[in-house]
Protein backbone atom coordinates (compact mmCIF):
# COMPACT_ATOMS: atom_id res chain seq x y z
CA UNK A 1 0.00 0.00 0.00
CA UNK A 2 1.47 3.32 -1.04
CA UNK A 3 -0.99 5.73 0.48
CA UNK A 4 -3.32 5.67 3.45
CA UNK A 5 -5.88 8.36 4.20
CA UNK A 6 -7.27 8.10 7.72
CA UNK A 7 -10.27 10.33 8.41
CA UNK A 8 -11.82 10.89 11.86
CA UNK A 9 -10.02 7.82 13.22
CA UNK A 10 -8.59 6.43 16.40
CA UNK A 11 -5.82 3.90 17.06
CA UNK A 12 -8.35 1.96 19.13
CA UNK A 13 -11.68 2.52 20.85
CA UNK A 14 -11.70 4.18 24.25
CA UNK A 15 -13.68 2.72 27.16
CA UNK A 16 -16.35 5.33 26.45
CA UNK A 17 -16.61 4.20 22.84
CA UNK A 18 -16.84 0.54 23.82
CA UNK A 19 -19.50 1.57 26.32
CA UNK A 20 -21.61 3.18 23.60
CA UNK A 21 -21.25 0.03 21.52
CA UNK A 22 -22.28 -2.12 24.42
CA UNK A 23 -25.44 -0.11 25.08
CA UNK A 24 -26.34 -0.45 21.40
CA UNK A 25 -25.73 -4.18 21.46
CA UNK A 26 -27.77 -4.66 24.61
CA UNK A 27 -30.66 -2.79 23.01
CA UNK A 28 -30.62 -5.28 20.13
CA UNK A 29 -29.98 -8.44 22.14
CA UNK A 30 -32.68 -7.71 24.73
CA UNK A 31 -35.28 -7.05 22.01
CA UNK A 32 -37.78 -9.96 22.32
CA UNK A 33 -37.59 -10.33 18.53
CA UNK A 34 -33.85 -11.05 18.64
CA UNK A 35 -34.32 -14.77 19.38
CA UNK A 36 -30.64 -15.36 20.17
CA UNK A 37 -29.74 -14.14 16.69
CA UNK A 38 -32.09 -16.49 14.82
CA UNK A 39 -34.70 -13.82 14.15
CA UNK A 40 -35.02 -14.62 10.44
CA UNK A 41 -36.04 -18.19 11.33
CA UNK A 42 -38.86 -16.63 13.33
CA UNK A 43 -39.83 -14.31 10.50
CA UNK A 44 -39.04 -11.17 12.51
CA UNK A 45 -36.33 -8.53 12.92
CA UNK A 46 -35.35 -6.91 16.27
CA UNK A 47 -36.39 -3.52 15.02
CA UNK A 48 -36.91 -1.93 18.42
CA UNK A 49 -33.35 -2.74 19.43
CA UNK A 50 -31.94 -1.52 16.14
CA UNK A 51 -33.87 1.73 16.48
CA UNK A 52 -32.54 2.46 19.94
CA UNK A 53 -29.01 1.51 18.89
CA UNK A 54 -29.21 3.90 15.98
CA UNK A 55 -30.66 6.71 18.05
CA UNK A 56 -27.79 6.41 20.49
CA UNK A 57 -25.30 6.33 17.62
CA UNK A 58 -26.71 9.47 16.10
CA UNK A 59 -26.30 11.41 19.32
CA UNK A 60 -22.61 10.55 19.34
CA UNK A 61 -22.06 11.52 15.68
CA UNK A 62 -23.20 15.10 16.27
CA UNK A 63 -21.72 17.88 18.35
CA UNK A 64 -23.74 19.54 21.08
CA UNK A 65 -23.56 22.82 19.18
CA UNK A 66 -24.79 21.51 15.86
CA UNK A 67 -27.63 19.61 17.52
CA UNK A 68 -28.62 22.77 19.30
CA UNK A 69 -28.43 24.77 16.12
CA UNK A 70 -30.42 22.22 14.12
CA UNK A 71 -33.12 21.41 16.68
CA UNK A 72 -32.62 23.50 19.78
CA UNK A 73 -35.59 23.13 22.07
CA UNK A 74 -37.96 23.33 19.14
CA UNK A 75 -41.30 21.55 19.61
CA UNK A 76 -42.85 19.48 16.91
CA UNK A 77 -46.30 20.98 17.35
CA UNK A 78 -45.34 24.26 18.88
CA UNK A 79 -47.16 23.41 22.12
CA UNK A 80 -46.46 20.93 24.91
CA UNK A 81 -48.90 18.03 24.91
CA UNK A 82 -47.74 16.67 28.27
CA UNK A 83 -46.99 13.18 27.06
CA UNK A 84 -44.03 11.02 27.99
CA UNK A 85 -44.55 8.79 24.97
CA UNK A 86 -45.29 11.09 22.06
CA UNK A 87 -42.67 12.97 20.11
CA UNK A 88 -42.64 16.45 21.59
CA UNK A 89 -39.24 17.94 20.89
CA UNK A 90 -37.93 18.08 17.33
CA UNK A 91 -34.76 16.22 18.28
CA UNK A 92 -36.92 13.27 19.31
CA UNK A 93 -38.61 13.23 15.92
CA UNK A 94 -35.22 13.30 14.22
CA UNK A 95 -33.81 10.44 16.27
CA UNK A 96 -36.93 8.32 15.81
CA UNK A 97 -36.87 8.91 12.08
CA UNK A 98 -33.20 7.90 11.87
CA UNK A 99 -33.91 4.84 14.03
CA UNK A 100 -36.89 3.77 11.91
CA UNK A 101 -34.97 4.13 8.67
CA UNK A 102 -32.00 2.18 9.97
CA UNK A 103 -34.11 -0.67 11.36
CA UNK A 104 -35.56 -1.21 7.88
CA UNK A 105 -32.28 -2.01 6.18
CA UNK A 106 -29.55 -2.90 8.67
CA UNK A 107 -29.05 -6.49 9.77
CA UNK A 108 -28.90 -6.84 13.57
CA UNK A 109 -26.23 -9.55 13.70
CA UNK A 110 -24.07 -7.52 11.35
CA UNK A 111 -24.43 -4.58 13.70
CA UNK A 112 -23.31 -6.71 16.65
CA UNK A 113 -20.33 -8.09 14.77
CA UNK A 114 -19.19 -4.78 13.33
CA UNK A 115 -19.30 -3.02 16.69
CA UNK A 116 -17.44 -5.92 18.30
CA UNK A 117 -14.82 -5.83 15.57
CA UNK A 118 -14.37 -2.12 16.26
CA UNK A 119 -14.00 -2.87 19.97
CA UNK A 120 -11.25 -5.36 19.18
CA UNK A 121 -9.42 -3.11 16.72
CA UNK A 122 -6.14 -2.31 18.47
CA UNK A 123 -3.02 -2.62 16.32
CA UNK A 124 -0.77 -1.67 19.25
CA UNK A 125 -1.96 -4.63 21.33
CA UNK A 126 0.46 -7.17 19.91
CA UNK A 127 3.30 -4.67 20.42
CA UNK A 128 2.80 -4.26 24.13
CA UNK A 129 0.49 -1.31 23.61
CA UNK A 130 3.19 0.60 21.72
CA UNK A 131 1.58 2.23 18.69
CA UNK A 132 4.93 3.40 17.37
CA UNK A 133 6.13 -0.18 17.13
CA UNK A 134 2.84 -1.17 15.53
CA UNK A 135 3.55 1.24 12.66
CA UNK A 136 7.20 0.28 12.31
CA UNK A 137 6.50 -1.96 9.33
CA UNK A 138 4.39 0.61 7.51
CA UNK A 139 5.68 1.87 4.18
CA UNK A 140 2.71 3.93 3.04
CA UNK A 141 2.50 7.70 3.06
CA UNK A 142 -0.28 8.96 5.28
CA UNK A 143 -2.84 11.71 5.34
CA UNK A 144 -4.59 11.95 8.69
CA UNK A 145 -7.65 14.18 9.09
CA UNK A 146 -9.66 14.96 12.21
CA UNK A 147 -12.46 17.37 13.06
CA UNK A 148 -12.29 19.72 16.03
CA UNK A 149 -15.82 19.03 17.33
CA UNK A 150 -15.66 15.25 16.87
CA UNK A 151 -15.86 14.05 20.47
CA UNK A 152 -16.40 10.40 19.66
CA UNK A 153 -13.17 10.17 17.62
CA UNK A 154 -11.46 13.31 18.80
CA UNK A 155 -8.42 15.05 17.30
CA UNK A 156 -6.49 13.81 20.34
CA UNK A 157 -6.84 10.25 19.06
CA UNK A 158 -5.74 11.21 15.55
CA UNK A 159 -2.70 12.91 17.02
CA UNK A 160 -1.73 9.62 18.65
CA UNK A 161 -1.63 8.11 15.17
CA UNK A 162 0.35 11.08 13.84
CA UNK A 163 2.85 10.79 16.69
CA UNK A 164 3.42 7.10 16.02
CA UNK A 165 3.97 7.82 12.32
CA UNK A 166 6.36 10.71 13.07
CA UNK A 167 8.26 8.51 15.55
CA UNK A 168 8.85 6.11 12.67
CA UNK A 169 9.91 8.90 10.34
CA UNK A 170 7.09 8.08 7.94
CA UNK A 171 5.65 10.60 5.51
CA UNK A 172 2.52 12.02 7.06
CA UNK A 173 0.42 15.13 6.77
CA UNK A 174 -2.19 15.96 9.35
CA UNK A 175 -5.13 18.34 8.97
CA UNK A 176 -7.25 19.29 11.96
CA UNK A 177 -10.38 20.69 10.36
CA UNK A 178 -12.40 23.22 12.28
CA UNK A 179 -15.89 21.97 11.58
CA UNK A 180 -18.97 22.29 13.80
CA UNK A 181 -20.59 18.97 12.87
CA UNK A 182 -18.88 16.51 15.18
CA UNK A 183 -17.98 13.08 13.83
CA UNK A 184 -20.54 13.51 11.04
CA UNK A 185 -18.27 16.11 9.44
CA UNK A 186 -16.40 13.39 7.58
CA UNK A 187 -19.51 12.74 5.47
CA UNK A 188 -20.29 16.37 4.81
CA UNK A 189 -19.26 18.87 2.22
CA UNK A 190 -16.72 21.02 4.04
CA UNK A 191 -14.53 23.18 1.80
CA UNK A 192 -11.38 22.85 3.93
CA UNK A 193 -11.75 19.10 4.36
CA UNK A 194 -12.44 18.50 0.69
CA UNK A 195 -9.68 20.91 -0.29
CA UNK A 196 -7.13 18.88 1.65
CA UNK A 197 -8.41 15.56 0.25
CA UNK A 198 -8.43 16.91 -3.31
CA UNK A 199 -4.90 18.27 -2.99
CA UNK A 200 -3.65 14.94 -1.64
CA UNK A 201 -5.33 12.96 -4.40
CA UNK A 202 -3.91 15.35 -6.99
CA UNK A 203 -0.43 14.66 -5.63
CA UNK A 204 -1.08 10.94 -6.03
CA UNK A 205 -2.36 11.49 -9.58
CA UNK A 206 0.74 13.56 -10.31
CA UNK A 207 2.95 10.85 -8.82
CA UNK A 208 1.53 8.12 -11.04
CA UNK A 209 1.36 10.40 -14.07
CA UNK A 210 -2.39 10.19 -14.33
CA UNK A 211 -4.41 13.15 -15.49
CA UNK A 212 -7.76 12.04 -14.15
CA UNK A 213 -8.65 9.46 -11.55
CA UNK A 214 -5.91 7.87 -9.47
CA UNK A 215 -4.94 4.44 -10.76
CA UNK A 216 -3.05 3.60 -7.61
CA UNK A 217 -4.26 1.45 -4.75
CA UNK A 218 -5.56 3.93 -2.23
CA UNK A 219 -7.09 2.84 1.01
CA UNK A 220 -9.35 5.28 2.79
CA UNK A 221 -9.91 4.20 6.33
CA UNK A 222 -12.58 5.45 8.60
CA UNK A 223 -12.80 2.59 11.08
CA UNK A 224 -15.40 4.51 12.94
CA UNK A 225 -18.87 3.87 14.00
CA UNK A 226 -20.48 5.98 11.35
CA UNK A 227 -18.06 4.77 8.68
CA UNK A 228 -18.76 1.14 9.35
CA UNK A 229 -22.47 1.51 9.79
CA UNK A 230 -23.17 3.97 7.08
CA UNK A 231 -22.89 1.99 3.89
CA UNK A 232 -26.13 3.45 2.65
Amino acid sequence: MRHCIAVACAPNLSAQNIAFNEVARRAIITDPDFHGGDYYAHGVVPKRGLRVARMLGHITYLSDDVMDEKFGRGMRNGERVYSTQEVEFQIEGYLRHQGDKFSEYFDANTYLLITRALDYFDPAREHGGDLTRAFAAAIARFLVVSFTTDWRFSPLRSREIVKALVDNGLDVSYAEIEAPHGHDAFLLDDARYHGVLRAYFERIAHEVGASAGPAVPVHITAPTQAGALRST
Binding site: G169, V172, S173, Y174, E176, R192, Y200
Partner: protein, 194 residues
Protein backbone atom coordinates in the same frame (compact mmCIF):
# COMPACT_ATOMS: atom_id res chain seq x y z
CA UNK B 1 10.69 35.02 5.03
CA UNK B 2 9.04 34.19 1.71
CA UNK B 3 11.50 36.10 -0.44
CA UNK B 4 13.40 33.68 -2.62
CA UNK B 5 16.84 35.00 -1.76
CA UNK B 6 16.05 34.85 1.98
CA UNK B 7 15.00 31.22 1.61
CA UNK B 8 18.20 30.38 -0.25
CA UNK B 9 20.31 32.06 2.46
CA UNK B 10 18.50 30.13 5.20
CA UNK B 11 18.73 26.87 3.24
CA UNK B 12 22.52 27.16 3.27
CA UNK B 13 22.44 26.91 7.07
CA UNK B 14 20.91 23.43 6.83
CA UNK B 15 23.38 20.57 6.25
CA UNK B 16 22.46 18.43 3.19
CA UNK B 17 20.50 15.29 3.99
CA UNK B 18 19.20 16.68 7.29
CA UNK B 19 16.06 15.56 8.99
CA UNK B 20 14.24 18.87 9.35
CA UNK B 21 11.37 20.17 11.46
CA UNK B 22 10.07 23.55 10.26
CA UNK B 23 7.93 25.24 12.92
CA UNK B 24 5.54 27.70 11.37
CA UNK B 25 6.40 26.38 7.90
CA UNK B 26 3.95 28.61 6.02
CA UNK B 27 3.27 27.39 2.49
CA UNK B 28 6.11 24.87 2.68
CA UNK B 29 8.36 26.69 0.19
CA UNK B 30 11.50 26.23 2.29
CA UNK B 31 10.83 22.56 3.00
CA UNK B 32 10.27 21.97 -0.71
CA UNK B 33 13.52 23.78 -1.48
CA UNK B 34 15.43 21.75 1.14
CA UNK B 35 13.91 18.54 -0.23
CA UNK B 36 14.68 19.33 -3.87
CA UNK B 37 18.10 20.94 -3.53
CA UNK B 38 19.59 19.53 -0.33
CA UNK B 39 17.95 16.07 -0.10
CA UNK B 40 16.42 16.92 3.26
CA UNK B 41 13.29 15.31 4.67
CA UNK B 42 11.00 16.01 7.58
CA UNK B 43 7.88 17.88 8.57
CA UNK B 44 6.42 21.33 8.77
CA UNK B 45 4.09 22.49 11.52
CA UNK B 46 1.49 25.07 10.61
CA UNK B 47 -1.77 26.31 12.09
CA UNK B 48 -3.29 28.24 9.19
CA UNK B 49 -5.72 26.25 6.99
CA UNK B 50 -4.72 27.95 3.73
CA UNK B 51 -1.03 27.36 4.35
CA UNK B 52 -1.60 23.73 5.35
CA UNK B 53 -3.39 23.23 2.05
CA UNK B 54 -0.52 24.89 0.17
CA UNK B 55 1.94 22.46 1.81
CA UNK B 56 -0.12 19.43 0.81
CA UNK B 57 -0.28 20.77 -2.75
CA UNK B 58 3.52 20.94 -2.77
CA UNK B 59 3.78 17.41 -1.45
CA UNK B 60 5.43 18.63 1.75
CA UNK B 61 4.64 16.80 5.00
CA UNK B 62 2.68 19.21 7.17
CA UNK B 63 1.13 18.76 10.61
CA UNK B 64 -1.63 21.16 11.59
CA UNK B 65 -0.90 22.17 15.17
CA UNK B 66 -0.84 25.25 17.34
CA UNK B 67 2.77 25.75 18.38
CA UNK B 68 1.64 27.41 21.59
CA UNK B 69 0.56 23.92 22.65
CA UNK B 70 4.17 22.75 22.53
CA UNK B 71 6.08 20.06 20.67
CA UNK B 72 4.78 16.97 22.47
CA UNK B 73 4.41 15.22 19.10
CA UNK B 74 8.18 15.05 18.79
CA UNK B 75 10.68 12.95 20.70
CA UNK B 76 13.96 14.26 22.11
CA UNK B 77 16.69 14.74 19.52
CA UNK B 78 14.54 13.40 16.72
CA UNK B 79 15.63 16.02 14.17
CA UNK B 80 18.96 17.28 12.86
CA UNK B 81 17.63 20.80 12.36
CA UNK B 82 14.65 22.65 13.80
CA UNK B 83 13.69 25.80 11.89
CA UNK B 84 11.67 28.61 13.35
CA UNK B 85 11.50 31.31 10.76
CA UNK B 86 9.46 34.41 11.33
CA UNK B 87 7.46 32.46 13.91
CA UNK B 88 9.01 33.16 17.30
CA UNK B 89 7.45 36.63 17.51
CA UNK B 90 3.94 35.15 17.17
CA UNK B 91 4.25 32.73 20.09
CA UNK B 92 3.26 33.43 23.63
CA UNK B 93 5.97 31.49 25.40
CA UNK B 94 9.14 32.30 23.50
CA UNK B 95 11.52 30.92 26.08
CA UNK B 96 9.71 27.59 26.46
CA UNK B 97 9.60 27.27 22.70
CA UNK B 98 13.34 27.76 22.41
CA UNK B 99 13.91 25.08 25.05
CA UNK B 100 11.59 22.76 23.15
CA UNK B 101 13.45 23.52 19.93
CA UNK B 102 16.71 22.55 21.57
CA UNK B 103 15.10 19.42 22.99
CA UNK B 104 13.87 17.97 19.69
CA UNK B 105 16.69 19.14 17.41
CA UNK B 106 20.48 19.10 17.32
CA UNK B 107 20.68 22.43 15.49
CA UNK B 108 18.20 25.28 15.73
CA UNK B 109 17.74 28.09 13.22
CA UNK B 110 15.56 31.09 14.05
CA UNK B 111 14.74 34.31 12.30
CA UNK B 112 12.54 37.17 13.45
CA UNK B 113 11.99 40.89 12.79
CA UNK B 114 14.74 42.92 14.42
CA UNK B 115 13.01 45.66 16.34
CA UNK B 116 16.28 47.56 16.72
CA UNK B 117 16.65 48.09 12.95
CA UNK B 118 17.34 51.83 12.59
CA UNK B 119 14.05 52.85 10.88
CA UNK B 120 12.20 51.25 13.80
CA UNK B 121 14.35 53.16 16.29
CA UNK B 122 13.66 56.35 14.37
CA UNK B 123 9.96 55.69 14.41
CA UNK B 124 9.90 55.10 18.17
CA UNK B 125 12.09 58.17 18.64
CA UNK B 126 9.41 60.15 16.81
CA UNK B 127 6.94 58.68 19.24
CA UNK B 128 5.22 56.12 17.00
CA UNK B 129 5.43 52.34 16.74
CA UNK B 130 7.06 51.31 13.46
CA UNK B 131 5.08 50.03 10.46
CA UNK B 132 7.50 48.65 7.88
CA UNK B 133 7.80 45.91 5.26
CA UNK B 134 9.05 43.46 7.89
CA UNK B 135 6.76 44.78 10.65
CA UNK B 136 3.72 45.64 8.53
CA UNK B 137 1.11 45.76 11.28
CA UNK B 138 -0.36 48.50 13.41
CA UNK B 139 0.44 48.07 17.11
CA UNK B 140 -3.21 47.34 17.94
CA UNK B 141 -3.65 44.70 15.27
CA UNK B 142 -0.52 42.59 15.04
CA UNK B 143 0.26 38.88 15.41
CA UNK B 144 3.72 39.93 16.62
CA UNK B 145 3.22 39.68 20.36
CA UNK B 146 6.93 39.31 21.18
CA UNK B 147 9.03 41.95 19.53
CA UNK B 148 12.73 41.69 20.30
CA UNK B 149 16.05 42.77 18.91
CA UNK B 150 19.09 41.04 17.49
CA UNK B 151 20.95 41.84 20.71
CA UNK B 152 18.05 40.64 22.89
CA UNK B 153 18.16 37.19 21.34
CA UNK B 154 21.83 36.74 22.21
CA UNK B 155 20.92 37.32 25.85
CA UNK B 156 17.97 34.91 25.77
CA UNK B 157 19.99 32.24 23.96
CA UNK B 158 22.60 32.41 26.70
CA UNK B 159 19.94 32.14 29.39
CA UNK B 160 18.39 29.09 27.75
CA UNK B 161 21.81 27.47 27.37
CA UNK B 162 22.21 27.67 23.61
CA UNK B 163 25.53 28.12 21.84
CA UNK B 164 25.16 30.44 18.86
CA UNK B 165 27.43 29.33 16.02
CA UNK B 166 26.12 31.60 13.30
CA UNK B 167 24.44 35.01 13.60
CA UNK B 168 23.74 37.60 10.97
CA UNK B 169 21.13 40.02 9.79
CA UNK B 170 19.05 40.00 6.65
CA UNK B 171 17.87 43.03 4.81
CA UNK B 172 16.17 43.10 1.41
CA UNK B 173 17.52 39.70 0.47
CA UNK B 174 21.10 40.44 1.52
CA UNK B 175 23.18 39.18 4.44
CA UNK B 176 24.13 41.92 6.90
CA UNK B 177 27.18 41.08 9.03
CA UNK B 178 28.19 44.61 10.01
CA UNK B 179 26.16 46.08 12.89
CA UNK B 180 23.21 43.78 12.26
CA UNK B 181 21.35 45.07 15.33
CA UNK B 182 21.22 48.48 13.63
CA UNK B 183 21.27 47.69 9.93
CA UNK B 184 19.20 44.52 9.48
CA UNK B 185 15.41 44.28 9.41
CA UNK B 186 15.56 40.54 10.18
CA UNK B 187 17.76 38.68 12.65
CA UNK B 188 19.01 35.14 11.92
CA UNK B 189 20.67 32.79 14.40
CA UNK B 190 21.87 29.21 14.23
CA UNK B 191 22.56 27.51 17.52
CA UNK B 192 23.21 24.22 19.28
CA UNK B 193 22.73 23.09 22.83
CA UNK B 194 25.80 24.02 24.81
Amino acid sequence: MSERSDLAIIARLVPPGSRVLDLGCGDGALLALLRDQRSCSGYGVELDDTKVLACIKRGVNVLQRNLDEGLSLFDDASFDVVLQLDTLQNLRNTEAMLRETARVGRIGVVSFPNFAHWPNRLSVLRGRMPVTKVLPYQWYDTPNIRVGTFADFEVLAHKVGLRIDEAFGLHEGKVVRRWPNLLASTAVFRFERS
